[in-house]
C-alpha cells in the first residue's frame, strides 16, 4: 500500500500541483475547471482522485496541496475520505492538506452534520473550508482561495510558507490540545 508523501519527488519549475480527493466526480470536475480558470502566476496542475491510495504505475508530479472534498449530503463521501486519510503521510498535515465541505447551506438535504467535519479537521490539525460547489459564485471564490493556498504550499510566494499559513488559518476559538 503506497502512502502519499509530500517531499518524495523533485518540484517542477514554476508548477504547482493540487490533488482533489472526493467521492463525487461531478463536483470535483467542476471545482477543477474553476481552478484552472483562475488567474495565477504559476502553472497549476489539478489531479482528481476518488480515493487513495493512487495507482503506482502512473508517473505523476509531486503533490503540493491535498484537498479532501466532502459532500455533506452524502455520508458515503465522508466514509471514503476517512478511508483515504490512512494512506497519507503525516507530514502532509503540516499545512499541505485541507478539508473542503460542500452543501452546508441546504440544511434539509444534509446527512452529515457540519460539526463532524469540523472535528475531523481538528483531529488532523488542518483547516476546513465551507462552500457550495454547486453554486457558480461560491465555487469561483473557493477556487481562487485554493489557488492561492496552492501557490503558498508549493513555495511560490516569498515570505509565506505552508506552516505559517496553517497557523494563520487556525481560528482563535479552536480549543487547545487538552480539550481534544
Amino acid at each position: 500500500m503506497s502512502v502519499l508523501r509530500p517531499l518524495d519527488k523533485l518540484p517542477g519549475l514554476n508548477t504547482a500541483t493540487v490533488l482533489l480527493v472526493g467521492a463525487d466526480d461531478a463536483l470535483l470536475q467542476r471545482l477543477a475547471d474553476s481552478m484552472l480558470k483562475t488567474d495565477c502566476a504559476s502553472e497549476l496542475r489539478v489531479h482528481l482522485a476518488r480515493s487513495l491510495p493512487l495507482p503506482s504505475n502512473v508517473n505523476r508530479p509531486r503533490v503540493d496541496l491535498l484537498v479532501f472534498v466532502i459532500n455533506l449530503h452524502s455520508k458515503y463521501s465522508l466514509q471514503s475520505v476517512e478511508k483515504s486519510l490512512h494512506h497519507v503521510d503525516a507530514s502532509f498535515f503540516l499545512g499541505k492538506a485541507c478539508f473542503l465541505a460542500t452543501g452546508a447551506g441546504r440544511e434539509n438535504l444534509c446527512s452529515v452534520h457540519r460539526n463532524t467535519i469540523v472535528r475531523l479537521a481538528r483531529t488532523y490539525r488542518s483547516p476546513v473550508l465551507f462552500c457550495d460547489l454547486e453554486v457558480e459564485g461560491s465555487r469561483a471564490a473557493m477556487a481562487q482561495r485554493l489557488a492561492r493556498m496552492l501557490q503558498i504550499s508549493a513555495g511560490h510566494v516569498p515570505g509565506v510558507s505552508a506552516m505559517s499559513l496553517l497557523s494563520l488559518l487556525r481560528s482563535s476559538e479552536s480549543p487547545s490540545l487538552e480539550d481534544l
Partner: protein
C-alpha cells in the same frame, strides 16, 4: 426492494471507529449545562437587560464555549403525561399525519381570551372564503372555530400549555344528532423548551411547534390570521437525514410491550431521470436487538451509537445488494413509536412516547427559529 433480517443477526461486522467520530451537536440536549443568565456585573452596565441583549448574551456564550463532549440525548421515558390528563383526550392526536411548522413566539397571546379568538378567527375564515377564493354556496358559512387548551402536553411546569384549534362544520339541520365534524385540526405546543423560554420576555408566549392536519388552504388562512394578530412567523419544518437517523435510533431504543409495525426506512437514490426509492423493512424485535448490542449507558443516546446503528444496517444491505446506502438520502423512518418523513410530516402511533417525540420535534423547531 425489501430486505428482512432474520433471527441471528451477524454482528461480527468490522467497523473502524476512531476517536474522530465524536461530534458536537449544536443544540443543547435537555440535560446539558443550562445557559447562564447574565451575571450581576453585566447588569450594572446595562440599566435594563432587554430580551434582545439577553439573547445576544446567550448566543455569544454558546458560540465561544465550544465544549467538545460527545452529544447525548435522553431516551424518551414511558409515560410522562401528567396525572391530571386523560389519555382518551389526547388519543385523537395519534394515528394522524401532521404537517410540521416552526413558530416564533406569539406576542400578547392570552389563555383567557380563547373564546374571543374563536370568534375572530371564525369571522376571518368566513370573510376569506367569501372573498371568492372558494366559490361554494352554503357549505363554508357553517363552520365554527374552537380554541381549547390541551392539558398535559408539555415537558416541564414552565412550558406553556398546548393550544388546540379546530375548524368544525356545524350540523346543517338542528334535528340531526351528529357531532360536528372536524374539518381541520391544528395544535401548538412546547415540550422542554427551556432554551427559548429563558430568552423571551413575559409578553411573549413560546409555542414553537405547530402541527396541522387538514386542507392546505385552511392552514394558510389560519397562519395568516395568527401572523397578523400575534406578530409571529410560521415556517415549514423539514427534517433532514441526520435528524431522521437520530429519531430512528431513539425510537428503536424505546421499550415497547407490543410492536404494531415493522421498522421501516425509505431511502431516495439520486439518479436521473427519476429518483429511485429503496425501502428497507426490519422486524422490530431484530432492530431492538441490534440497538441493545450497540447501546452502552442506559438512559442516554450518543452520536457514536446512532452512527454505529445506521452503519450496521447499511453494511448488512451492502453485503446483500452491493449498494452503499450512505450514498443515498434517508427520507422516511417508520417505527412502532412514530413515523417521520423528511418533508416535515409526522405520525405518532404510541401514546406512551408522545412527549418524547414532541420534545425532539420542539428542539428542531427551536433550532430553526434561532
Amino acid at each position: 426492494m425489501r430486505s428482512a433480517l432474520g433471527g441471528g443477526l451477524g454482528l461480527q461486522l468490522e467497523l473502524h471507529f476512531s476517536a474522530m467520530q465524536k461530534t458536537m451537536d449544536p443544540y443543547d440536549a435537555p440535560e446539558s449545562t443550562p445557559r447562564q443568565h447574565p451575571s450581576c456585573s453585566l447588569k450594572e452596565y446595562f440599566l435594563a437587560a432587554t430580551p434582545l441583549q439577553r439573547r445576544l448574551e446567550s448566543v455569544r456564550k454558546q458560540a465561544t464555549s465550544f465544549v467538545p463532549t460527545p452529544p447525548r440525548r435522553r431516551i424518551p421515558q414511558r409515560s410522562q403525561l401528567q396525572e391530571d390528563v386523560d389519555p382518551q383526550k389526547v388519543a385523537f392526536l395519534l394515528h394522524k399525519q401532521w404537517t410540521l411548522y416552526s413558530l416564533t413566539p406569539l406576542y400578547k397571546f392570552s389563555y383567557t381570551n380563547l373564546k374571543e379568538y374563536s370568534r375572530l378567527l371564525s369571522a376571518f375564515i368566513t370573510a376569506e372564503k367569501q372573498k371568492g377564493l372558494a366559490v361554494e354556496v352554503g357549505e363554508d358559512c357553517n363552520i365554527k372555530v374552537v380554541f381549547s387548551t390541551l392539558l398535559g402536553v408539555k415537558g416541564t411546569q414552565s412550558d406553556p400549555e398546548a393550544v388546540l384549534v379546530q375548524i368544525l362544520s356545524k350540523p346543517q339541520l338542528p334535528s340531526e344528532d351528529r357531532e360536528a365534524k372536524a374539518l381541520w385540526t391544528g395544535w401548538f405546543c412546547c415540550v422542554f423548551g427551556d432554551g427559548l423560554l429563558e430568552t423571551v420576555s413575559e409578553d411573549f408566549t413560546c409555542l414553537p411547534l405547530f402541527l396541522a392536519n387538514g386542507a392546505e388552504s385552511n392552514t394558510a388562512i389560519i397562519g395568516t390570521w395568527f401572523q397578523k394578530t400575534f406578530d409571529c412567523y410560521f415556517s415549514p419544518l423539514a427534517i433532514n437525514a441526520f435528524n431522521l437517523s437520530w429519531m430512528a435510533a431513539m425510537w428503536t431504543a424505546c421499550k415497547m410491550d407490543r410492536y404494531v409495525a415493522a421498522t421501516e426506512f425509505l431511502w431516495s437514490v439520486p439518479c436521473s431521470p427519476q429518483s429511485l426509492d429503496i425501502s428497507y423493512a426490519i422486524h422490530p424485535e431484530d432492530a431492538k436487538a441490534l440497538w441493545d448490542s450497540v447501546h452502552r449507558t442506559p438512559g442516554e443516546v450518543t452520536q457514536e451509537e446512532v452512527d454505529l446503528f445506521m452503519d450496521c444496517l447499511s453494511s448488512h444491505f451492502y453485503r446483500h445488494f452491493r449498494i452503499h446506502l450512505s450514498a443515498t438520502r434517508l427520507v422516511r423512518v417508520s417505527t412502532s413509536v412514530a413515523s417521520a418523513h423528511t418533508d416535515g410530516k409526522i405520525k405518532i402511533i404510541c401514546h406512551k412516547y408522545l412527549i418524547g417525540v414532541l420534545a425532539y420535534l420542539t428542539e428542531l423547531a427551536i433550532f430553526q427559529i434561532e
